[in-house]
């Protein structure tokens, strides 16, 4: 049992100070911008909640938000089942396990803009390996700078390449913690592979899968660098996800007020959906 100890605050103080410095000051700056209008020269006018209203009504924001939800939805329904299937088919022990884990973890340690650049040269029509294979060997016309559908397939494939391993490694960690005795008992009872999965493996993976889904949601919802480097949001606006649109408004057009209001709405949506996921996935624990 944990003991009551108010002095524990001193242990937490360094963390608190560092994170507060990084989180509170910038977020207050954003709040400050979101309610004011500026014409430069550091002259600000009170604007109230006008920016929020403007963003919430703007079609551009709705479109970017829609693309963002579609992207995150596709990522989750592809990466989570795929990751679980791969984890289930991995050997549980042996010399190949560390080799597999190291190779699988590799994409996650590549800087994000290098991931974008790498996929760019991989998919160049006629020059890149994938672009050449699709266009010149299979005869499928593929050019993601022209075709929005090809651009979408490419950014989804890139993210699956980049992050499925996170789900694999987390699920695998859950699987190896199951004692052999459970499997032997299931064998004696004549349980089918599906039953073994449903009643032994899945419950053991639940905690780690919750972490995996939460992390994948947060990170795919906040994704910026990789699609920006790969497609720049194009062709047209077809792959302009929320972060890309936000940076366009904030740094491209320097509309600080609307950008700040959009940031806060964006952050609030991320928090809300994460919280919903979290409560939904931990609710079943009681049953």
């Amino acid at each position: 049992m944990k003991t009551e100890n108010p002095k524990a605050w001193f242990f937490v103080l360094p963390v608190l100070l560092l994170v507060a410095f990084n989180a509170l000051v910038p977020i207050m700056t954003v709040v400050n911008y979101s309610v004011q209008e500026t014409f430069g020269n550091n002259v600000f006018f009170w604007q109230g909640l006008d920016w929020f209203e403007q963003i919430l009504r703007s079609e551009r924001f709705h479109a970017a938000l829609g693309r963002q939800f579609l992207f995150t939805f596709l990522i989750l329904i592809i990466e989570v089942p795929l990751g679980v299937i791969i984890a289930l088919s991995m050997p549980r022990k042996g010399m190949w396990v560390p080799v597999c884990l190291v190779l699988m973890a590799l994409p996650m340690l590549i800087p994000w803009n290098v991931v974008g650049a790498m996929w760019n040269i991989f998919t160049l029509p006629n020059i890149g390996l994938l672009g050449y294979f699709l266009n010149d060997v299979l005869g499928i016309s593929y050019d993601m700078t022209q075709d929005p559908f090809a651009a979408w397939v490419t950014i989804i494939t890139m993210d699956v390449w980049h992050w499925t391993s996170l789900v694999v490694l987390l699920s695998y960690a859950g699987l190896v913690s199951i004692p052999d005795a459970y499997y032997q008992a299931a064998k004696i009872d004549g349980a089918s592979p599906w039953k073994v999965f449903r009643y032994i493996q899945l419950p053991k993976m639940k905690t780690v899968l919750t972490i995996a889904i939460l992390l994948r949601f947060m990170d795919s919802f906040n994704i910026y660098t990789e699609p920006f480097v790969l497609t720049g949001g194009g062709p047209g606006n077809s792959t302009t996800l929320l972060s890309i649109d936000l940076v366009k408004i904030a740094l491209g057009q320097f509309d600080l007020g609307p950008a700040a209001a959009m940031s806060l709405i964006y952050f609030a949506i991320t928090l809300l959906v994460s919280w919903l996921f979290y409560t939904l996935m931990t609710k079943d624990d009681g049953q």
């Binding site: 020059i127 694999v168 490694l169 906040n222």
Partner: protein, 265 residues
């Protein structure tokens, strides 16, 4: 059993293809790349690497990245250790709320913070220093380190602490000589994750630096756009950014399965 192992093999092949292509490109001349498709480098060249190792703006990019990533890893783990200990051992006013608030910082889109971070670090005079990037990355690395370490510490029975106090150990001596060695796998895993997320992040690192502390990844975007389209050079620089990550994974390979479960399985 044999058929099942086909799935991981296919998956790893899929993972390796783009990496192979990047490495293969880095050994080709720009002419060869643009003149058409070739699966293997026809005229094998090390010129791209030679450029990177002889041009200071290139190799300093690597040194800068390694400096701020190491600095960030040390700071994050050092301050997360006592905090994680407090969360795993004590109850105190607002502990649960504080823990959740720490985690919410992991959810903030970096794009939201880019501009305010620039202003904040400029106003305290840290703009374009390694320390600025290292401190900024604490925003998402400290919560993660606290989370991982708390998981590992929760697995250590409380009797260990009590026995040590009975034996007359002071808290700092107990923490350093007994407790830390017990959770050294956790420290390794936390350090690995801090290294990873600081190494791969670019948006904040690029926003907070100009010349002195410019990361390698930002160097790549600059050269790719100004010097035309030097794909070979870009590929060589990209290949070199994979190496530090590969070295770090090799060291933690035996803890990796447990570490990804954040010690909570």
């Amino acid at each position: 059993m044999k058929k099942r192992s086909l799935i991981p093999i296919l998956y790893i092949a899929f993972l390796m293809l783009p990496i192979y292509w990047l490495v293969a490109m880095s050994f080709k001349t720009t002419n060869e790349i643009l003149s058409g498709f070739s699966l293997f480098p026809q005229t094998f060249t090390l010129d791209n690497y030679k450029v990177i190792f002889t041009d200071p703006s290139w190799y300093w990019g690597y040194i800068n990245s390694i400096i701020y990533v190491s600095l960030n890893t040390v700071i994050s783990v050092a301050v997360a250790l006592p905090a994680a200990y407090a969360f795993s051992r004590y109850r105190f006013l607002g502990d649960k709320q504080l823990f959740f608030w720490l985690l919410t910082n992991r959810m903030a889109p970096a794009a939201v913070f880019a501009l305010p971070f620039f202003q904040l670090y400029s106003s305290v005079g840290l703009f374009d220093t390694h320390l600025a990037v290292a401190l900024a990355h604490c925003l998402f690395n400290i919560p993660l380190a606290v989370w991982i370490l708390e998981g590992f510490m929760g697995g250590v029975p409380k009797e260990l602490d009590e026995t040590a106090y009975v034996d007359g150990y002071s808290f700092p001596r107990f923490f350093v000589t007994i407790f830390l060695p017990t959770i050294k796998a956790g420290v390794g895993v936390a350090a690995f994750f801090c290294f990873m997320f600081s190494w791969v992040e670019l948006l904040l690192a690029k926003t907070l630096t100009a010349v002195q502390a410019k990361p390698i990844a930002a160097e790549m975007t600059k050269t790719a756009s100004s010097a035309g389209y030097e794909l070979g050079l870009l590929a060589a620089a990209g290949t070199l950014t994979i190496i530090p990550g590969a070295i770090v994974i090799y060291f933690v390979r035996n803890y990796i399965a447990k570490g990804f479960a954040l010690g909570r399985v």
